[in-house]
Symmetry: C2
Subunit: 345 residues, 2 copies
Amino acid sequence: MVTQKDVADLAGVSFITVSRVVNGETNVKEETKKKVLAAIDKLGYAPNFAGQVLNSGKCNTIAILTPIPLEQSQFTRLAYLMQVLAGIEESCRNNNIDMILGSVPEVMHNTSYDYLRPFRQKKVDGIIYIGLKKIPKEMMEELKKRDRPCVVIGDRPRSSLLSWVDTDNFSAAYNTIQKIQEYGHKIIAFIGLESTIYNENISEREKGFIKALQDANVSYAPEDYIIRTDYDANGLCEKISDAVKKWHHAPSAIFCSMDSLVPETVKGLAKAGLSVPDDVSIVGFDGFINDSYYYLKIATNVQPLKEMGKTAAEILFNHINNKVTKKQTEIFQVEFVPNDSLRKK
Amino acid sequence: MVTQKDVADLAGVSFITVSRVVNGETNVKEETKKKVLAAIDKLGYAPNFAGQVLNSGKCNTIAILTPIPLEQSQFTRLAYLMQVLAGIEESCRNNNIDMILGSVPEVMHNTSYDYLRPFRQKKVDGIIYIGLKKIPKEMMEELKKRDRPCVVIGDRPRSSLLSWVDTDNFSAAYNTIQKIQEYGHKIIAFIGLESTIYNENISEREKGFIKALQDANVSYAPEDYIIRTDYDANGLCEKISDAVKKWHHAPSAIFCSMDSLVPETVKGLAKAGLSVPDDVSIVGFDGFINDSYYYLKIATNVQPLKEMGKTAAEILFNHINNKVTKKQTEIFQVEFVPNDSLRKK
DNA sequence: CTGAAAGCGCTTACAG
DNA sequence: CTGAAAGCGCTTACAG
């Protein structure tokens, strides 16, 4: 490969001068600089990464770690991941940083795969963890041991070591219920996740739902209008049609904690003889659904995921460059998007 | 940071012995080895990446480059990318290789972003290019100049420098038409992409469509039953309803070159008074659509994308390790999946 | 403005 | 079985 020495030989200078030119130092005679640049161009020289890193200790690479599996049909999580990645990528481009994409395996047993290896080997300057599940214990320990920064997206870890960016899911849900009420709906149900599934975002949405109804002094217990399912909405259809029979007053609106739960919700209502949006309005969360694939344009809440990714990366860069050593946190607001699935009552 | 020297000091040996233990060399006394391992464990030592790279010239990192933008609502391309990535990731895991995710900008002007920098800096041992658009000229030149391997997924570059894996889109389309004919359909239309959009896969599907109909000696010109649109199916609805009026005999089946074109196709037919699948059957391509979001379960063709990703990575690793210097190519078959949208006529 | 020396952390021969 | 020497490509003081 072409090294500084080769360039130096061709330009008739020492390799130190080449280094100076490469790094844009000013104390080089204009004429010398030209000779060196010509030689660089002729030989197609580019500074060797490893040589630079060994000196500087900085590798201009960050790791993106996430428990979200790349391979899955669950579009919601995929789209979430990709939009966040798009934001991170934009910041990385602007700073000439590369991203190593890694994933935290769902189960750690029977695998020798070590997702923290790049981190331990100092192959990355820092980590962005895209939440969904809590940061694993072993990762927290490594972060503590090595002194390199980590920013979390989509969760609010309590450790003072970790910076994070997140959306205000509680407020988003709270505001959503208020909006729905402004449309004249009195009884509102919530579709959430089973409590065995850890997802702080969804549980915050649930809390926002409950609080908003309490504050509105509704005549029913909000908890009685919560139905829980899993990410794939397994059994949701039946649960809903059963609930419709059980409820004294059927809800005229339903707040789905994820758009991906909407289709099964609609099916469950249909099974119980209710149609959307004629009988029941629906508001979701995420805004990932391609309109053309669903008969219904869903009113929803959109998180500024790309912005969050950008911001997380920028915070990480600040930490890496030691401009900021103190933990930083940022909370983003969610945008409510009305649409056909929400009707005035 | 903890170096081999620190470990050596603690274990009371030279750092060379530490290196031997780290690299699993056998010529180390069992007792010495134990001392060293204990010291490694105590200090949390991990070999510094840059040090290793500078010696070996291998960085155990590959670049994934793609012109597919991460940020977009076009689910088809996103899902395509992610499934391929999932396959690459699996191979990478098995070989302790990291992946740097980069994207080839759509327009090169007014940006100083250099997507080939990691490659030039020898920050990666090789590249996997996930096709959609042809490899840019400047990239081909760089590949020629630096002597590092590149494997292409989803395109068949003519250069003898590049290995590739691809699906047999021609045969898949050919077979699809035969299947549709087996279901009793005589007149079959094709929805493809405008010729200004470069996409070898789609154009191969179009060729397969034409050839199958020619071989079946149909009484019409297959070309008269081709409608072209763009990735977002802009104007497709109108084109189809117009075509239905124009055609002497309306098709009883339509082969959409991408599933994502199905909804607008269905709308266009509806506009012309035809319903799917009662009046017209539809077969698509990709199999990405989440069943629950569409009223119709689409008969389609599924590419083994994850397998392709895995294979591409393995080929690349072979090149990197110099086991194989000759260009390698692999063609995967596509699986036909019948479903509700295809009816017997 | 330019160059010789030392060193970043590691591995690869070479000596013993 | 173990260690001293040299070098991978680069940058950072230091000297002139």
